[in-house]
Amino acid sequence: MALPVKNSLRVLRAEREWSQATLAEQLQVSRQTVNAIETGKYDPGLPLAFRIAGLFERRIEDVFNPDDGKKL
């Protein structure tokens, strides 16, 4: 069974006052991908997850967490 994952992408993006389009451009993905990740409809693959964490200068576990109430 797939492990549900929560992420703080919307918060991190808001801190930098970036639009979804701006973030998508920096990550070289579509804006729909950013939107789907933020709304929890899509969990990114590892390479994209690392790119997101790197862009915000955070550890990957600071951005993505399993949705089981426990922090990694």
Binding site: V29, S30, Q32, T33, Y42
Partner: protein, 148 residues
Amino acid sequence: MMTNDELPRRSLRELIQGCSGTLQDKRNSRWFTLWCLAWALAYVGAHWTLKADLQLATALVWLLVSIPILLMIGAVFSYMHFLRNADELLQKIQMQGLAMGFGAAVVFVTGYQLLEAAGASEMQTDHLIIVMVFSWMAGQLHGSWRYR
């Protein structure tokens, strides 16, 4: 500023693809469409010429048959290039569409074989292609709706 968050209006092709993708995806998708158009024109032209009973030389018949086949092979490679380089959400939606197209083809072929055994007319390959293409598009629309 956190603006431009609403989903923009999307073209019918983007809606069918489920995700408009990056600029590179759009460029690759355009190439695939061009290959398909070239194949369709060559196919219709070859079909019409071969059916017209023009007493063509054997070499010309082979040429007429080969051109659409080569163009379709080009279209397949173009699609594979598009899929390999696509945005990862677009890849997922496309794979879902392909799975639905393949699954529908299996259901259609096995189901129709039983109908043939029960006395229905022989299956036309055109019908199978139509079922596959429409199921592929339906799968992409479903993915588009799911990740909207």
